[in-house]
């Protein structure tokens, strides 16, 4: 009986994972006449390696810090350290990831050979960090709202669930119109409600708004699915548990805190695990809406894995990202299990 299932799991889950792991240690290409070579952890070192450079403001002959027109100190270009510089071989061909100001006007520059990957990693984590609680919370809120024996409540259930049955690709395409920088629905609405005071924002074209915009859309798209899971959890709570609370004089909040929430423990674990995994596999939204831009502000791990493995034909690089993603999700899942273990 279990054989077909095992076979499927093996061919489509276990085998690909070990293949990905194996490939990530080579320089395998999608198509190449050259033989594949074993390169050890080179792929991972390239992606994860960072180095640190401290730069000081430029001085003039008199020992004063040079200032630009706006009165800010002038720093030497990072490029001077990273390109064609025999004095700094450790920085060769590395690029600035981000800077931190230190005291005395010194600046710490974090350099990496693969800034795009690190940005993808940071974005993915940020995405998960924001989307998980917001989506789970909103879904629970909606589930509580519609878990009432009101007439016509099924209409609302259907409405909230509708985005889930539409493919994320289609949803992303639709939301591109909503987010359009000139006459998108969002800008039009904002202008209407602010009586024309609101300046239209190019939501997806702005480094500061692109990722939040994608987060908001993702939350909207997935919230119905998690709402249904919450709802199924809510419906396992016997009515009498609420009636006791009513008789004992619980307020709405107390009912939620002492009755509803503790009864939803297992549902909560399920929802969190699913949302986390979904959040880490952020891809179609990026592919359709921004392709990682503007300026890498919406790069994601899976998007980079696809870009490298498929579009840039660098199977080993794509595999290495997949392996990192797998380990990341695995460790987060284990951590979640640890946090939510039965304490006895």
């Amino acid at each position: 009986m279990a054989l077909p299932a095992c076979l499927l799991v093996f061919t489509f889950l276990i085998l690909p994972f070990f293949m990905a792991f194996g490939l990530s240690l080579t320089n395998q290409r999608l198509v190449s006449p050259n033989p594949t070579e074993f390169v050890g952890l080179d792929n991972f070192k390239k992606m994860l390696g960072v180095s640190f450079l401290i730069i000081e403001p430029e001085m003039d002959e008199a020992g004063h810090i040079k200032l630009d027109n706006e009165g800010n100190p002038i720093y030497p270009r990072v490029r001077n350290f990273t390109r064609n510089q025999e004095d700094f071989p450790q920085f060769y061909k590395k690029r600035e990831w981000f800077q931190l100001g230190l005291q005395d006007g010194k600046v710490l520059v974090v350099l990496s050979q693969d800034v795009v990957f690190l940005k993808a990693l940071a974005n993915t984590m940020l995405f998960a960090l924001v989307v998980c609680p917001v989506q789970a919370g909103l879904a629970l809120f909606l589930a509580l709202l519609i878990n009432q024996p009101l007439r016509g409540i099924n209409i609302f259930r259907t409405i909230y669930f509708a985005p889930v049955v539409i493919s994320m690709v289609v949803v992303s395409m639709l939301w591109r119109f909503i987010y359009d920088g000139q006459n998108g629905l969002l800008n039009t609405l904002m202008q209407m409600f602010s009586f024309g005071l609101f300046e239209p924002i190019d939501w997806l074209g702005n480094t500061s708004t692109a990722l939040p915009a994608i987060m908001a859309m993702s939350v909207w798209q997935g919230v119905g699915f998690h709402m249904v899971i919450w709802l199924s959890g809510l419906q396992t709570i016997p009515l009498s548990h609420y009636e006791v609370a009513r008789i004992e004089g619980a307020t709405r909040w107390q009912t939620f805190r002492y009755v509803t929430w503790p009864s939803l423990r297992n549902t909560a674990i399920l929802v969190m695990v699913i949302i986390t995994m979904q959040a880490f596999t952020l891809y179609p939204q990026i592919q359709v809406m921004t392709r990682g831009g503007p300026l890498d502000s919406t790069q994601s791990l899976v998007f980079q894995a696809v870009i490298r493995g498929y579009e840039k034909q660098d199977i080993s690089g794509g595999s290495a990202i997949s392996v990192i993603l797998f380990l990341l999700v695995l460790s987060i899942s284990l951590f979640q299990r640890y946090l939510t273990r039965e304490k006895n």
Partner: protein, 317 residues
């Protein structure tokens, strides 16, 4: 892929963009060519006192820039020029790579088989700065351009000029008739350049019937078939004879100018298998620079990435 064994005489008069040569051997032949031009309206240019460039005397960088500023300043358009940033993918290297070449740079230097110094040399950086300035000054729509605007923006008058290919020429002609102009690419220093492009027939190195396949290709590239093909799909026939046989591209035909563009300006993109990756990298660099990334750093990174890929593939030898 295997080299084709086709009689060279049959290839006389072929547009360079329709022939795929590498290491001195012919590997592929295309049944059509495509060319880009600046779509413009005579009335608009005249109203703004802008000189109409010709194949022999295209705009130089200052003229081009001034034209854009003037058009933008007229206030009649959302943007002076539509570069087609919405068309992600092949379009970027195909349409914008020639600008870089006209500046004197290139995506990959074919001689050294390296992107460093070609892409991020002085010419490359000069191109990058110019490129960035177009976006910084809001002369052109950025990377978040809507696909629909790209399709209809010029015809509906949102954009004064549009950088587009001959496949989009007929709708524009329908809309503006005699007012419609197809202008050659500007000369940014080392001559005006446009991309050459076609999908071509080649033969797999493992094919058992190379001769037969070659014979078929030889048969298919007769002028009568080329012109029929062009009429079917609207693209440029790759020979003058075939062009003369089509109503659109023959002398006096509405699209004749494209044959001239293809013949005069077409520049092959770096002919190397590295192009697959290099094109993607170039696309991202163009998008990033358009969005305000540091020009030199971005081009450095792009060049490094292309070179690393070439290295990883043992130089694609």
């Amino acid at each position: 892929m295997a080299p084709l064994s086709i009689d060279e005489s049959k290839l006389d008069g072929f547009l360079p963009g329709a022939l795929g040569r590498w290491n001195g051997e012919l590997y592929a032949v295309g049944l059509w060519d495509a060319a880009c031009a600046i779509f413009a309206r005579k009335s608009v240019l005249e109203a703004n006192g802008i000189r109409i460039p010709t194949l022999d005397n295209p705009w130089n960088q200052e003229e081009f820039d001034a034209a854009l500023v003037t058009l933008q300043g007229s206030g009649d358009f959302e943007y002076a020029l539509d570069l087609g940033m919405a068309w992600t993918g092949e379009w970027y290297p195909y349409a914008f790579g020639p600008f870089l070449q006209s500046f004197g740079g290139d995506i990959i230097n074919v001689e050294t088989n390296m992107a460093n110094d070609a892409l991020n040399g002085d010419a490359g950086i000069a191109f990058g700065e110019f490129w960035q300035s177009l976006f910084a000054r809001d002369l052109v729509p950025g990377t978040s351009q809507d696909g629909a605007d790209r399709e209809t923006g010029f015809i509906e008058g949102q954009y004064a000029l549009q950088w587009n290919g001959n496949w989009a020429a007929l709708p524009a002609l329908d809309a503006f008739g005699d007012d419609m102009l197809f202008l050659p690419a500007p000369d940014f220093g080392t001559g005006p350049k446009i991309g050459a492009a076609s999908w071509q027939f080649g033969i797999s190195a493992t094919s058992e019937h190379k001769d037969g396949a070659s014979a078929f290709i030889e048969f298919a590239i007769q002028d009568k078939y080329l012109s029929a093909f062009s009429q079917g799909i609207g693209l440029i026939p790759p020979t003058a004879e075939a062009s003369a046989m089509t109503p659109n591209y023959s002398a006096g035909g509405p699209l004749e100018v494209f044959y001239g563009l293809s013949n005069e300006q077409a520049t092959l993109r770096a002919v190397t298998p590295a192009y697959v990756v290099a094109g993607k990298v170039f696309e991202k660099a163009m998008a990033d620079i358009a969005n305000g990334a540091d020009v030199a750093d971005t081009l450095d990174t792009a060049a490094d990435e292309i070179d690393a890929d070439i290295d990883q593939n043992s130089g694609y030898q």
